[in-house]
């Protein structure tokens, strides 16, 4: 077990810079998830840590040692791939013991370790089978087993659940978390799925366009995004963004979204936004913070009426969509309170949860 440090790491493919000078500290035992849209450089970053991709500039440390020029086998890491990458001609036991055999471990030690990993992953009865006789979930367990037996300093996961169906994905997610709690090895996990990132990570690293947008705990990321990208990427459905103007009236500051809708900025937050008065900014509010007026202590000033375009019942909640100034907005309401499409509905905005974003820098103010 060891910490992983990235210092100003750059990766260029010919002239294209896919990873731009990123720095990242991953302490011992931590579970870090790299998340971002495809092409954001997250997989490349992981592959540079693994040694499968050379780094163009910067330094990578594993356990205090610079590993820039070390081949993958000497970095003491283990990796789980999206398509499992099991050796098709070997049994599960042989797959899991291959790395140990190459490292010349004694036979009884190999057997002990494989048995232990198989018990952790509940695949003991599969040890004699070939990969093609396994289901997707079982293959993924074997791939994890192959990583565990080596007892490496770092686990690397490259979108390990993307090939599984939705139900199995949730199940394996829990499994990965359970295994990490058991073996506590430093883990770097890459995914494009923000739900996976939020549920698994101790800390999430949001990447976009080759740079790190924000590093934070899942809760922090959700409540205090630093950029518009993070605000929009984390959370599902995505945060609503509306152009607005900050106004000052006798009572306090207000966010003017349209001629008909203007919402009060809570007194607690007002001092932060004092300088914005009269300026055009972007107003961000998550769908779950636009609801039917339900709380008794709510501020009636934060209510507004809209005409619904689309209504999507989900069972435990209903998504309603409406348009304000040409921008589509989503709200999350109680199934019982929703009106039908084309009908009027009164909604309440929880302004304590709002974000204001600078339209030029895209930074959350």
């Amino acid at each position: 077990m060891a910490e992983v440090l990235l210092r100003n790491v750059v990766k260029r493919f010919d002239d294209v810079e896919v990873v731009r000078k990123i720095s990242l500290d991953i302490p011992d035992n931590e579970f870090v998830v790299l998340v971002g849209p495809s092409g954001c450089g997250k997989s490349t970053t992981l592959r540079m840590i693994a040694g499968l991709e050379e780094i163009s500039a910067g330094d990578i440390f594993i356990g205090g040692e610079v590993v820039n020029d070390l081949p993958p086998k000497d970095r003491d890491i283990a990796m789980v791939f999206q398509n499992y990458a099991l050796y098709p001609h070997m049994s599960v036991f042989e797959n899991m013991s291959f790395g140990l055999k190459l490292r010349k471990f004694p036979k009884d030690e190999i057997k002990k370790r494989v048995d232990k990993a198989a018990r952790i992953l509940d695949i003991t009865e599969l040890l004699g089978r070939k990969p093609k006789a396994l289901s997707g979930g079982q293959r993924q367990r074997v791939a994890m087993g192959r990583a565990i037996v080596r007892n490496p300093k770092v686990f690397l996961f490259d979108e390990p659940l993307s090939n599984l169906d939705a139900k199995l994905r949730v199940q394996m997610r829990t499994e990965i978390k359970r295994v990490h709690q058991m073996v506590k090895t430093t883990t770097v996990y890459v995914t494009h799925d923000q739900v996976e990132a939020m549920t698994l990570a101790d800390r999430v690293v949001v990447m976009n366009g080759g740079v790190i947008e924000q590093i934070a705990t899942p809760q922090d990321l959700y409540h205090h995004p630093k950029t518009r990208f993070v605000a929009g990427f984390i959370g599902s459905p995505a945060m609503n963004f509306m152009r607005c103007r900050i106004e000052q009236n006798g009572v306090g500051q207000r966010v003017r979204i349209s001629d008909a809708i203007s919402l009060p900025i809570p007194a607690l937050q007002a001092p932060r936004f004092q300088s914005l008065t009269g300026k055009e900014v972007v107003f961000g509010l998550r769908p779950e913070h636009i609801t039917e007026p339900r709380r008794s202590d709510r501020d009636p000033n934060s209510e507004f009426a809209v005409t619904l375009d689309v209504v999507e019942p989900m069972g435990m909640e209903t998504m309603v969509y409406f348009t304000v100034e040409g921008q589509e907005i989503c709200a999350r309401v109680d199934p019982g309170s929703s009106s039908g499409p084309g009908e009027q509905m009164r909604l309440y905005a929880d302004m304590n949860q709002m974000h204001l974003i600078d339209p030029q820098t895209n930074a959350v103010l």
């Binding site: 081949p71 990796m79 791939f81 398509n83 990458a85 050796y87 098709p88 790395g99 190459l102 192959r146």
Partner: protein, 299 residues
């Protein structure tokens, strides 16, 4: 909805199903007709070989008898004389030696070449791979003249060891080419997993690639075997004494004397010579097909 339309429904479905069955039947009948024609066309020469090989010289020479059937009874004399009174067994032995060596050399060279060209991306690897295939497109009927000079210079003229040297110019390019394709169909993550597990390039090749690509390798082996077993132009050009001759040329040159064709023995020789490839195809056919239809390795 009226009762009439309800009643019409099942009959409509039934008719649709019947037409589907009819379509399928016609497709099957057409396939069988053409397959049978094809099979007959390709089975006529072997049939003619068998029939002629089992006749006596007298019957073969008799102009009045029907050449398609054996009228005077089956005789194995042609085979007996061929194996005891001609150099046929020497040709057979030479061919086996040459073929085994050629297949071995081809496989070693091709597997390494295909692995490095298909997997270890390096400067010029793409051009090299295409270049190798292009050399395969130069026909041996053009190559034998310069090759004659080379074989002569090395002093291997009229020696079957010369064939061991020359045949790989035909087999290596093609075998390398099909194995490059096969190796490329193996997921890249497999070698990355092996790299992380601690394998070097040689271990990756021997422990992962060769076992996984076995169908492709066997397909390439069968190809090399066939080329080497059936080669005609090179032995015709480079070998002239019968103790060095191989089956293809040896059978023809020793059994055709001037304008005298020993048809019975020629056919018997052709049959015996065709037996090893037949046996090998029969045993390895599944691998051969799997090799040609590559990509069945999804982990």
């Amino acid at each position: 909805m009226s009762t009439a339309t309800i009643a019409a429904r099942p009959s409509l479905a039934l008719r649709a199903r019947a037409s589907l069955r009819r379509n399928r039947r016609w497709a099957l009948i057409t396939s069988y007709v053409f397959l049978i024609l094809f099979a007959i066309f390709f089975l006529i020469p072997p049939y003619y070989m068998v029939v002629t090989a089992l006749k006596s010289d007298a019957e073969v020479a008799h102009m009045a008898t029907n050449p398609w059937i054996i009228a005077d009874g089956i005789t194995f004399d042609q085979f007996r004389i061929l194996l005891t009174q001609t150099d046929f067994l020497i040709f057979f032995k030479n061919t086996i030696i040459v073929t085994v060596c050629v297949v071995a050399i081809t496989m070693v060279v091709s597997v390494f070449a295909a692995f490095s060209l298909g997997r270890m991306k390096f400067w010029g690897s793409g051009i090299l791979a295409t270049g190798i295939f292009l050399t395969y497109l130069v026909p041996d009927t053009l190559l034998f003249i310069p090759l004659f000079q080379i074989v002569k210079a090395i002093g291997l003229l009229n020696s079957y060891w010369g064939m061991v040297l020359v045949y790989p110019t035909l087999t290596v390019p093609f075998c390398t080419w099909i194995m490059i394709g096969y190796f490329q169909s193996i997921p890249k993550e497999l070698d990355e997993a092996a790299l992380i597990d601690g394998a070097g390039h040689l271990q990756m090749l021997t422990k992962i690639f060769i076992p996984v690509a076995l169908p492709g390798i066997i397909a390439a082996m069968i190809f090399a075997f066939t080329v080497s077993w059936a080669a005609f132009v090179y032995p015709m050009t480079f070998l002239y004494s019968s103790d060095q001759q191989v089956l293809t040329v040896g059978t023809v040159t020793s059994l055709i004397r001037g304008d005298v064709y020993k048809w019975g023995m020629l056919m018997a020789g052709a049959l015996v010579a065709a037996a090893p490839p037949l046996v090998i195809y029969a045993f390895l056919m599944d691998y051969y097909i799997a090799g040609l239809t590559a990509g069945a390795t999804k982990g």
